[in-house]
Symmetry: C2
Subunit: 411 residues, 2 copies
């Protein structure tokens, strides 16, 4: 299937009317930019999806409040890296609000009554923000705002914590001849903590779309992208996906919605895969794909993707179909092993209740790839039945480095 | 609280009327005994608890059928190590029944109609049993049967796969002056597979007890012992706990039930801890203890115990309270972090929503122990309320060796 969209440069600055800036304030020890600001020239519609962890940071509360009812007055996202601003007492809430107020004041044309600034944090939990440093960096940050590829690149890098590579993407598609753009940056490489944690994605678009349309599109897309991603099964206190839609393309037709959803899904799936591939200590992206899955098949895919035994086998290029089958078996989802086929890196290793006579060395060689696919096909008793939609889930392998990074973090 | 029982030697042979034997048949490559037989001189009441994994071995099916209705005619447990007899087609079922028939025949006084032999397997899944070798070893096995400490020791060793140490225990307690004994052997060191997997426990007692009393006691005990054990969250195809009660002590009074349950709980908890301590690559036993836990607190304890981030922090002696809090937070169980205290190796690190001013080096030193306790206390809003019963869960840390063992298993 040909894609209906093309990639463009600039990530969050690719859509019209979005600027970005970064600065080093001193939140993190290493002298790497740690504050990132994304601003829309005009008030934007916003939607968000947030961590379900009941222990969560002030920024999660902050954004949930601002987005509780469809909000079309959002102007900015401010993100700090190095401090999660979480579990640090009432002072954390005050600091979060202070930052919003300061950004509103610096941007001048932002009405503070609109509660127009969203916040995000990622880093160590339980620590207080160095507010003096943050405050004195904010005017420089705002002064640097620019719509440029360079700024977008700096933004993708400044939100990183333990990530090894920046994650960014932008697409353009046409609606009745008029171009619309969607851009995004993301971070996350396994919840290397709460200490240095968190999956963040910030998405901008110049499509004109109402909050009541944007919100369900984002939910559907996240369900098929970031929510299909698991590095170690841990859910951070600060995870969030935010979308700002500022309407600057002047495209507002209903025709645009399907293309937009398709583009957003592509972007979010690509970013999710980038996050998995950059998982702590990862040597490969592992895709668990279920063909013709039973009801609640997502749970089978996730249980396989989260099994430490499956993940260490992927690291060791071990064609260990048994571990995959066993994880499926304890997922809690009903299926018949007698109607199951398991393929490892394209090789059938288990068919209808029994292993095939596969050559272990051949499969082992095939598993030595940076892009390993574990496929489970659930055969239908009824040959004429239409196949149910496939399910995919992304993770990475489990290596010595995962243990090293996570065991030695505090030292 | 003084224990009402004393430890005795001999594990499964400690109770009157139980014999054991082992032999090397050639199921496993290494020349280590791989068949274990436990026999009661007279028909015994039996009860069992089995894996909930819907993918399971023939022995699980075998025993479930024999124990479906209270069975008081059980004479033997035959266990092989090295082959799980699972996912290997219809031939696996036939072999399983063949072994039962052969044991019945060799023991002579066993009526095959009673379906009196329980089976257990642990090892590689998807492979056929070498039945010629097994059959020719069975008569030697039966000829070796003996009630002795030596045989009991051999049995504890012969059921091991990747375990590093045998796990066995026996207790004696008095009921109105008459002694009753309970003995047990167990194996399991993390589900290093399905390939070399499985938690097995075989328990014998000379108490006279009916199946309708024994069954619920075993369920309660397993819920507070083996079911509080997690090494990597994976549930094997072959897990089982079996109890045989042959009545040879002639103690049958109802007075005995409470003492028996207490002794059984002690044995099963000790064995569960031994399994956790012997987890693959483990350097320490980790106990997650919840004081005054909320409803469904077991889920909080298990989520913490299964978090790879918590387990790597334990390995690295990292006082990372955040990972513990976050795991509790995504367990799905409601609690208020503002009413929570977290203690690591006896040190308070988090109190009512905020970290304490603990000295990381001091806590780090305290964590360098083979017996690490993570304690969460849930404070009551109502100071006068009675504390709810504490919950415990056992696991081990997550080390480089876990990855090494599991990544290189197939090679």
């Amino acid at each position: 299937m040909a894609l209906k969209f093309r990639t463009v440069d600039g990530s969050v600055c690719a859509p019209i009317g979005f600027k970005a800036a970064t600065v080093y304030s001193g939140i993190r020890k290493a002298e790497r930019d740690d504050l990132t600001l994304i601003v829309s020239d005009v008030p934007a519609v916003a939607a968000g999806v947030f961590t379900t962890n009941q222990v969560h940071a002030w920024c999660i509360k902050h954004n949930r409040e601002r987005l509780a009812v469809g909000n079309d007055q959002i102007r900015a996202i401010i993100c700090n890296a190095g401090n999660a601003n979480c579990c640090n007492g009432e002072i954390g809430r005050q600091n979060d609000l202070e930052i919003e107020a300061a950004i509103s004041a610096h941007l001048r044309d932002v009405n503070p009554k609109n509660r127009a600034v969203l916040t995000a944090s990622t880093g160590v939990i339980g620590r207080k923000l160095p507010m003096e440093k943050v405050n004195s960096a904010l005017s420089t940050l705002c002064a640097r705002l620019e719509r440029s590829e360079a700024r977008a690149k700096e933004a993708a890098a400044a939100i990183m914590t333990t990530d090894l590579v920046p994650k960014a993407l932008a697409l353009e598609f046409d609606v009745n001849g008029a171009p619309v753009r969607v851009g995004a940056i993301a971070k996350g490489s396994g919840m290397i903590a709460p200490n240095m944690a968190t999956m963040l994605a910030f998405i901008t678009t110049d499509l004109a779309i109402s909050s009541s349309v944007l919100e369900p599109i984002l939910r559907r897309v996240v369900a098929k992208s970031f929510n299909c991603l698991t590095v170690d099964g841990d859910t951070s206190t600060n995870d969030m996906v935010l979308v700002l839609a500022n309407g600057a393309s002047n495209v507002s037709s209903e025709d645009s919605h399907a293309s937009f959803e398709e583009a957003l899904l592509y972007i979010c799936q690509e970013l999710a895969k980038k996050v998995a591939r950059d998982g702590e200590g990862a040597t490969k992206l592992v895709t668990v794909r279920l063909l013709n899955p039973p009801q609640f098949g997502e749970k089978i895919a996730k249980t396989i993707a989260e099994s430490p035994l499956v993940k260490t086998a992927c690291f060791g290029n071990d064609p260990n179909w048994g571990r995959i089958l066993v994880a499926a078996g304890y997922s809690g989802v009903q299926f018949d092993p007698q109607q199951l086929v398991i393929r490892l890196a394209g090789h059938e290793v288990f068919v209808r209740g029994e292993p095939t006579a596969f050559d272990p060395n051949q499969v082992r060689s095939a598993m030595k790839t940076e892009d390993l696919i574990i496929e489970l096909e659930f055969l239908s008793a009824d040959a004429g039945a239409a196949a149910r939609e496939a399910i995919q889930c992304w993770t990475c392998d489990f290596s010595y480095d995962y243990v090293r990074i996570n065991a030695s973090y505090g030292t």
